[in-house]
Amino acid sequence: MSAIPGRCIYMANDFIQQITYIDLIWSFGLVLLLGIISVVEGLRFERSLGIGVLRTVIQLSLVGYFLKWIFHLRLMWVILIIMAVMTVVAVRTAQGRLKKKYSEFQWLLAVSLVIGCVITTYVVTHLVVGVKPWWRPEYLLPLFGMILGNGMTGVALAGERLQSELEHRKLEIETLLALGYSSHDASANIRRDAMRAGLMPTINSMMIVGVVQLPGIMSGQILSGVDPTLAVKYQIMVMFMIAGSSGIASWIFTRLLLGRYFTSAHQLRYWMM
């Protein structure tokens, strides 16, 4: 049994089944079978499958050893640098999904993600899990990774949708502005649709979670020997934090992004579309 500082949580270590790289060869056999099917049937995906297998093994192994080293180091500034790098990568990835990529949008993405993810991370690490110290890497990095990843997906979807709607509904916006609507009111429908686009995947997964399949966090914890009723609480926390990060970040980003498309005199910056 092992105890974790902060809250008293016990894990039954003797239930964790160890697997070696040699054991993994059996699972590789499944992929190998796929490769054989591809060759025999002439499907021609064996090359990309092979590259995918190599990258999976190399990348995840490197990440695993890297995380082991980070957990061993136990230095707060290292954790914060890693989080900063993750955020920069998330911003660049989300920027790549936008149709129109003005450089100023990177800052809007950064602000939205930082605010959305910081709020969510604080709530989760301080108020829910209550781990001490708050930057404990075994908790902070995986949780922040999920929060950031879903926040990134949310803002990318919302931003993509917003730009598309602005282009397709330009006549509607101009008509409303000409009738004396403020830019806020003229773009209300577009804002709503963009937020929906950012949040719907999360809401849809909340509808089916646990019904179609056991979600990842819960499955991983149960495999590690955690009591299922505790694993469920973690999973619920994760679902809520995903909704929180993607929702808050999307909300901030849609407001900031729309603000760039209008002037203070409620004029549409039509040349940006």
Binding site: A178, L179, W271, M272
Partner: protein
């Protein structure tokens, strides 16, 4: 050039404007040194070839765009001194393409002001003003013909009782006969409400039908401005003569 009779309601002096490129940079001027005075209650048609800057000029008048140079005054004060949302309800623009939202005729009329509740009587009155009195308020607006949609947008504009009406190529997608019907509606509204109307069109016959004052805009410059009869019967400038001769009309 024709000088307006009566109190000047809109005045442009030395107005220039360039459309920004995708990076927001401005280069070639769309409008060059525009001087124009419009009297209260006047009908002014701004005609010219496509791409001459007519729609751009219209959008400067209700601050959908702001000029790069010069000034525009409304009732003697620069446009920038008016709260822009109120200004747009007084100087009201009706777009070239009618935007009709999904919903009933009443829904589209109520779009004019989301905070005000228009009575059925008010809505029936404006519909009658644009010859749509036979249409029910609860009719699905998508079932209207294109010409009727144009008139519905006029009715929506009139609910706000603007002082100046800006019409951007009204009925451009209609054949000449139906377009004349829309222009006649505009003319009758002008008589009833005595508002100032500024219409831009590339179809000079509509401008001629509406009467009033005609200003010719070519390559962003006003070439000639005169009373309608003077302009069409005895144009003074070569540009005006060339424009009138070169016009291809709908049959």
């Amino acid at each position: 050039m024709h000088k307006p009779v009566g109190q000047t309601i809109i005045q442009l002096e030395g107005v220039t404007y360039s459309h920004p490129d995708s990076k927001g940079m401005k280069s070639q001027s769309t409008l060059k040194n525009i001087d124009l005075e419009i009297a209260e209650g006047e009908i002014v048609s701004i005609i010219g070839p496509s791409g001459s800057g007519k729609s751009t000029l219209l959008r400067l008048l209700n601050r959908m765009y702001d000029p790069d140079g010069g000034f525009i005054k409304y009732r003697g004060k620069p446009l920038s001194e008016y709260p822009v949302l109120n200004l747009r309800r007084e100087i009201l623009l009706v777009n070239q393409e009618p935007f009709i939202a999904p919903g009933t005729i009443a829904d589209n009329l109520r779009m004019a002001d989301k905070e005000k509740i228009f009575t059925d009587d008010e809505m029936h009155y404006v519909l009658a003003s644009v010859n749509l009195e036979d249409k029910e308020l609860k009719l699905d607006s998508q079932r209207l013909s294109v010409g009727e949609k144009h008139r519905l947008t006029l009715a929506r504009a009139f609910l706000l009782k603007p002082k100046v009406l800006l019409l951007d190529e009204p009925a451009s997608s209609l054949d000449l006969q139906r377009a004349r019907g829309v222009v006649d509606t505009v003319g009758s509204l002008h008589e009833k409400l005595n508002i100032t109307i500024i219409m831009v069109t590339h179809r000079f016959r509509l401008a001629r039908r509406l009467g009033g004052v005609v200003a010719l805009l070519v390559d962003g410059v006003i070439m000639e401005k005169a009373l309608s009869d003077e302009f069409f019967n005895a144009p003074k400038t070569d540009e005006a003569r060339r424009f009138l001769e070169g016009q291809e009309e709908d049959t």
